[in-house]
Amino acid sequence: MISIKNVSKWYGDFQVLTDCTTEVSKGEVVVVCGPSGSGKSTLIKCVNGLEPFQSGDIIVDGISVGSPKTDLPKLRSRVGMVFQHFELFPHLSITDNLALAQIKVLGRKEDEAKKKGLALLDRVGLSAHAAKFPGQLSGGQQQRVAIARALAMDPIAMLFDEPTSALDPEMINEVLDVMVQLAHEGMTMMCVTHEMGFARKVANRVIFMDKGAIVEDANKDEFFGSPRSERAQAFLSKILQH
């Protein structure tokens, strides 16, 4: 489904990604972790072409992200993305946030788009808030709306970039619950997160990044049982302490 092949990226002289190679197959949940600044966000943004890369290629559902001939907006409309800071559109009601891209990108009729949005809002437990604006919701609620907004496009895969790290602790679980449910339904997911409980519960594989490189790419049990690299071991012991 998502195939990352020898991707390297530079900001000027500074190399952010070094020869990253990995694969996310259909229905697989892959968790990406690693220290701050290791390039996790950059890598995941390369997958839907939000960040360009200079060498290597990424193939999403048979389409090359790196090729200049690819219709990137079209490709992006098929891959959902959820951000750390939710990024709902603050000037639009929740209903309109959910409907906007369905109408403008997929060409759905307004009532059809709204109906679909409402159904997804119900699924994340927020149907009572349809008429509100993002600023009137808590962080956890906004993030659930953001997930619903991405799902409204019927994505073939979902990308998450630290979806819970901007949330107050008591709101983290409501968002993780939605993600766990998605995983159980067979959604293909690539998640940058430090929520190791989530990784343990639903991940198939865990990727550990350091200094722009994929240091460890292992089966979940292998990763938590006996990480090969020292850096991953150190990272794990630090993160699992608290």
């Binding site: 839907n48 951000f83 990024e87 559109f89 403008k104 509100k132």
Partner: protein
């Protein structure tokens, strides 16, 4: 100083038909409003296009908009007016030139020059406000819009501009007020807007203080009206649950 105030002067006949001096003020106000509104429409449309250009990816379009702003913001308004009124018509093709200089009523050709001048001058200022508004939005908004598959024109129309405009209503209001003040340059090329009518009344009647007091009151009421209107607009588009957009 002893001065005999005579507020009745505005109701005296000007000696032209049944016209009284107050009629001059009304006509002048009409020109002032027409000049300012027409200029503002141009400024707002062109300024928005330029402001968007300044924030687009790539090099060429942002550069063009930046050069425009430098030129139109830094040349004094009066110089620009003389260029539009005295020089540009001479550069027009033959047919247009005779149309502009001979067929058009002199007031109309002056009107066109002033509207263009005010519109293009103010567009440079609106451009900078629009650019500031767009750049004040978190980068994540653009990324989220891209990630949903929206294309650049849609991103500006649906996501960036509606938010940017809400942020810049206060500075846009002062540009809107400025265009009313600046419209008085029209008097220098003989267009009888409010200031020109005021001067003329003062000369004809020798009631200088009354004439300028009335003009001051009219400008003041106009300003207050516009400000109240913009406040109303601001309130109408206010987003529930949002104290200040942008930032972060």
């Amino acid at each position: 100083m002893h001065y005999n105030w005579d507020w009745g002067v505005f109701f005296h006949s000007t000696g032209i038909g049944s016209e009284i001096y107050l009629d001059w003020f009304v006509k002048g106000l009409g020109w002032t409003i027409a000049l300012s509104l027409a200029g503002w429409v141009i400024a707002l449309l062109l300024g928005t296009v330029l402001g968007v250009m300044r924030t687009l990816p790539g090099k060429v379009l942002p550069r063009i908009a930046a050069v425009y702003v430098e030129i139109f913001r830094n040349i004094p308004l009066l110089v620009q007016l003389f260029v539009w009124y005295f020089i540009v018509p001479d550069l027009l093709p033959e047919g247009l030139q005779t149309w502009f200089k001979q067929d058009l009523n002199p007031a109309t050709s002056a009107f066109i020059s002033v509207v263009l001048c005010l519109g293009l001058f103010t567009a440079a200022r609106v451009c900078e406000q629009v650019r500031t508004g767009i750049q004040a939005l978190p980068k994540g908004q653009t990324n989220a819009a891209y990630a949903l598959g929206l294309r650049i024109p849609q991103i500006y129309k649906e996501v960036l501009l509606p938010q940017a405009f809400r942020i810049i209503i206060p500075p846009l209001t002062s540009e809107f007020l400025n265009i009313f003040k600046n419209s008085s340059v029209a008097s220098l090329i003989g267009l009888m807007e409010l200031l020109a009518q005021t001067k003329q009344t003062a000369e004809f009647t020798a009631n200088l203080f009354e004439a300028f007091t009335l003009a001051t009151i009219i400008y003041f009421v106009l300003n207050m009206g516009l400000m109240l209107f913009m406040r109303w607009v601001e309130k109408r588009v206010r987003v529930p649950g949002l104290i200040a957009l942008g930032g972060k």
